[in-house]
């Protein structure tokens, strides 16, 4: 090998190495920036410098209008409720600027997002695990099964706004469910169903065939084999794949903006006339709230507080749910391996 060629090879090698290294660290940089930015700016809203150090009203109240005014040379920024109390004490006319949604907190949004996540995950996991079992354990490789697999792949690629419109057309209008939890559950559930099916099927496929054959050879039926000797070992994998689904369900705005989300609602979800009304009520949700406060109201220096606070809470919420399912997975895994 000539000297120049060896040098060329070395340069190519070094270039490739740095390219790959740069690409990898770019991801880290982006992730760090996003988390730091939202974390730092959000924590200004979430935490306070004195007292309990946690901004309790932000976690316990609904969004309120912020009133900004000057009185006797002092600047006041008060929420709707505080402003009314202040006016009761000071019977004077003040020129107040109102900023929508920028005071109070996000409690109803947290509750709404939690309800949406739980309901749609139950629906998606139930349907997804059943169809994964059918596809992986029962079906044979016929033409119709191949068609179903293609349909699942295609469904995974459908943009979420299309799911939103579909849910609006079918559940909200055709079924007369109006803007409701039920419509949101089904829309979100259908949106992540392909991911759940694919993930569950992957986990089922990872269970060694020897366990199936060993069980069948002992005179177990197919269903006994699946129930006792296949599904339990696939559950940790299914939970792992569903963690991603939880993140999407909690964070997607498009599917719920026509089907389940209200921009503002004064009652909490449990304040319903009759218990059957529970699933037919719309709720506030964090992603939709972020969308509203960051694009639907005039922006000024008072709006940032709510935007970053809500974004930070959403991140924390997704993180907490994911953590919970990881803990659940580890416990299942430990129970299975004694």
């Amino acid at each position: 090998m000539s000297k120049s060629r060896r040098a060329r090879n070395r340069i190519a090698q070094t270039t490739a190495f740095w390219l790959f290294r740069f690409a990898t660290y770019a991801i880290l940089a982006a992730a760090t920036y996003i988390f730091l930015d939202i974390g730092i700016k959000g924590s200004r809203t979430l935490f306070t410098t004195q007292g309990p150090f946690i901004n309790v009203p932000f976690f316990t109240q609904g969004p309120q209008t912020l009133f900004v005014f000057e009185y006797e040379g002092k600047k006041y920024t008060l929420s709707d409720r505080e402003f009314r109390a202040w006016k009761a004490q000071h019977p004077v006319e003040v020129e107040a600027t109102s900023v929508a949604y920028s005071a109070g907190g996000v409690w109803p949004c947290i509750v709404g997002t939690g309800l949406l996540v739980v309901g749609s995950m139950i629906f998606a996991l139930a349907v997804g695990i059943c169809s994964a079992i059918y596809l992986n354990e029962y079906s044979q490789n016929t033409r119709s099964i191949r068609l179903i697999r293609i349909a699942i792949l295609n469904l995974a690629g459908v943009p979420s706004i299309v799911f939103g419109l579909f849910g609006f057309g079918l559940f909200v209008i055709f079924f007369h469910w109006n803007v409701s939890l039920l419509a949101g559950w089904f829309t979100l559930g259908l949106m992540i169903l392909p991911a759940i099916i694919t993930g569950s099927e992957e986990s089922l496929r990872a269970v060694p065939n020897g366990l199936r054959e060993g069980s069948l050879a002992l005179g177990a039926t197919k269903w006994q084999t699946i129930r006792k000797n296949v599904l339990p070992y696939a559950i940790p994998g299914i939970l792992t794949s569903s963690i991603l689904g939880i993140g999407r369900v909690a964070g997607e705005t498009a599917p719920i903006m026509f089907t389940a989300a209200y921009a503002l609602r004064d009652e909490m979800p449990w304040q319903v006339q009759h218990w059957t009304d529970f699933v037919f009520q719309g709720v506030m949700a964090l992603p939709y709230h972020i969308y509203v406060v960051s694009s639907k109201i005039p922006q000024n220096e008072y709006t940032e507080r709510m935007q970053y606070g809500a974004a930070c809470i959403l991140l924390l919420l997704v993180f907490a749910i994911a953590l919970a399912s990881i803990v659940l997975r580890e416990r299942t895994r430990r129970r299975l391996s004694w």
Partner: protein, 279 residues
């Protein structure tokens, strides 16, 4: 007397003569009878016109080079091939104790209970030793704790494993050695009281000592079960079987008592394979 025996020097017997099982009685009742069986995986035919009568309560070994259809035929006996897309018997019939096992009214679950199987790669379930053996009983509907305990102990004793595992019944089956795992799989198969036990190269992943233990076990089980064993190891067939069937390219070349096949085969191909001229 005992001391005398210990000091006795064993005769240097030829390998194939070692531990040779006694000749079975000439007219052994037939357990499995294979008649004119052709078998295909989709378009690929792997068995051609196989005729075979497997005697009851004896060990029958299937030998032959790789890909000659021994395992396929073995898996026909408990219809394990049903699990493979496109695999089917294209003509002929297999009868177990006089009943056609491929008849439409046969309950395949019950068939597999009667015809147990031990796999090439030992496949204990990721459960405790106890639960592995109890699994078969539980799927058959056993709920009484004392009955299950009894059956587990009996099966483990029959598989010559009880003394080694009696103190660790509740620990993971994956903690056992390879040979113990394979004997656990045999114990698991014994627990549901099958009539036939199929063994698909049960010792291929084991070291010589573990192999010797499994072979000894097979030899003992012969008294109560019909055993069909597929093996690549001709010495193994010689050591632990009463009958031997030699397969080549999907055809049964020769079937007879093991001593005859190994000492005086009537087919030239059998002799060539056994003496190591090919295969």
């Amino acid at each position: 007397m005992v001391v005398m025996e210990k000091e006795e020097i064993p005769h240097p017997a030829p390998l194939l003569e070692l531990q040779k099982p006694p000749e079975p009685e000439p007219r052994q009742p037939v357990m499995i009878s294979v008649e004119d069986v052709d078998f295909s995986y989709s378009a690929h035919q792997v068995l051609y016109d196989v005729n075979l009568e497997i005697p009851s309560r004896a060990v029958t070994a299937f030998i032959g080079p790789s890909g000659c259809g021994k395992t396929t035929l073995l898996r026909c006996f408990n219809r394990m091939n049903d699990l493979i897309d496109g695999a089917r018997i294209t003509s002929g019939s297999i009868e177990l104790d006089g009943y056609n096992i491929n008849a439409p009214d046969v309950d395949v679950v019950d068939l597999r209970r009667r015809v147990g199987m031990v796999f090439q790669k030992s496949n204990p379930f990721p459960k405790s030793v106890y639960e592995n053996v109890a699994y078969g009983l539980r799927v058959l509907g056993a709920t009484k704790k004392s009955a299950i305990n009894e059956a587990v102990e009996k099966s483990l004793r029959a598989a010559a494993l009880w003394d080694e595992v009696k103190d660790r019944l509740d620990s993971s089956a994956y903690g056992l050695s390879g040979g113990q795992q394979q004997r656990l799989c045999i114990a698991r198969a014994l627990a549901v009281e099958p009539e036939v036990i199929l063994m698909d190269e049960p010792c291929s992943a084991l070291d010589p000592i573990a192999t010797a233990k499994v072979e000894e076990l097979i030899y003992q089980l012969r008294e109560n079960f019909t055993i069909v064993i597929v093996t690549h190891n001709m010495q193994q067939a010689g050591r632990c079987s009463n009958y031997t069937a030699f397969f080549y390219l999907g055809r049964l070349i020769e079937f007879g008592s093991t001593s005859k096949i190994f000492s005086n085969p009537s087919e030239r191909k059998t002799e060539d394979y056994i003496t190591g001229r090919f295969g």
